[in-house]
């Protein structure tokens, strides 16, 4: 019974939501309610994840294990942000500046490092991948895309160059469409396996 109930829940809810794509106006009110529950559960799951993170760092701090100083930083930053956010509001200018002036420099800084790393990797592309069909087409496409982004090439429609540029810009769409279709087919299969109870990511694998 313990194993049957979760499977039943997953299958029935899944089929009901799927039916919502076809019988939208009929099922929409109930589906909206289910979706609200789902949003709530995802939020709580994220909170649980935060809890695990805190427990990990707290235990590292208490047990004086490896690098407790970093755990102290994590816990302090967490506490200050949490208290600040609960005492103030999300619309508060100070709180917004506090959070964004920490998040933006760090995330953008990591992206900046990525830029340097990409240049470095492009220097060694042929050495690591060799002269293959894919590496050559990759290199040519990357250089053309970068050049087209510079705005040196006139792209007036109706001219020969304009037509050529439009064709070159459309060319990546072909491969990307194939990739998107592949991703969609993969998602479809995974979803079907869950709906048919072949995969049970909620536990109790068959």
């Amino acid at each position: 019974m313990k194993r049957v109930v979760p499977v039943l829940i997953a299958v029935l809810i899944g089929l009901f939501v799927l039916a919502g794509y076809v019988l939208q106006s009929l099922l929409a009110p109930v589906l909206i309610m289910f979706l609200n529950w789902g949003v709530l559960l995802v939020g709580v799951a994220l909170l649980v994840g935060m809890g695990h993170l805190l427990v990990f760092h707290f235990s590292r701090l208490i047990n004086d294990q490896e690098k407790p100083f970093y755990s102290l930083i994590v816990l302090s930053a967490f506490t200050l942000t949490l208290v600040g956010g609960l005492v103030l509001s999300l619309q508060d200018v100070f709180f917004r500046n506090l959070v964004l002036n920490i998040l933006i420099p760090i995330e953008a800084g990591l992206l900046a490092i990525l830029a340097i790393t990409l240049v470095y990797m492009s220097l060694y592309l042929i050495r690591t991948r060799g002269w293959t069909v894919m590496s050559v087409s990759f290199l040519v496409s990357a250089i053309i895309s970068l050049l087209l982004n510079l705005g040196y090439v006139p792209t007036q429609p109706g001219t020969r160059i304009g037509e050529l540029v439009a064709f070159l810009r459309r060319l990546p769409i072909v491969g990307v469409r194939g990739i998107l279709l592949g991703i969609a087919l993969g998602g479809l299969l995974v979803g079907l396996r869950v709906i048919l109870a072949i995969d049970r990511p909620y536990g109790d694998e068959p």
Binding site: V17, V74, L86, I102, R177, L181
Partner: protein, 232 residues
Amino acid sequence: MNLSEIVWGLIGFLLTVMVLSYLIGDNLFFRLAGYLFVGVMAGFLSVVIIRQILWPYLLIPLVHGSWLERLWALIPLGLVILLVLGQFKRFTGFSRYPLAFLGGVAAALAIGGAVFGTIMPQTQAVIEIFDPVVWYAVPGRTWLRIIDAVVMLLGTIGTLSYFHFGRQWRAHSNIKAEERPFILETLSGVGQVFIGIALGAVFAGLFSSALVALIDRILSIGQFILLVVGAS
């Protein structure tokens, strides 16, 4: 120039320098910035979830709702309790029910989105470019549109062929397990070219975004230095 500009500018400047110091090598300052990011992000995410999910989706119906809303709110409340209880070893099995609910919804959305949002429209787009009405809609260079349509079709099928995942050939078949049919192999070769082109464009896009971020960071450092120099 006011004080808050200097303070926020200083924080941004220091954090940027700390993160960029990774270019020299992994060091204490980079790790400090990393752990600070984790703490702030976790705290902020918790605040957002409490204020914008727990409060409106659970607590308001329970506290301020009508008796009907409170009754309905008991179901998600029960699921939440089961999910939280499931984190303790003694009650591990409890989290199966809310996770099964989430799994069912997510699986249905994945199927619906994939079928109605990608597979059908994209397949239709490939088919539509063979519509003669489209070919002759604009006079001149019709042959170019035909070639374009053929390239699109071949490229899409080739890309899918490259990612072909199939079962092993049956034992009684003469074809070896490693070998694929000639047509599939050929299309796969064509697909490689288009995948390379697509990934090259993605690389250029990714680099563009990263470069913009690098430029922004350099600009913010320079502006802060100019601010301090100008103030002094």
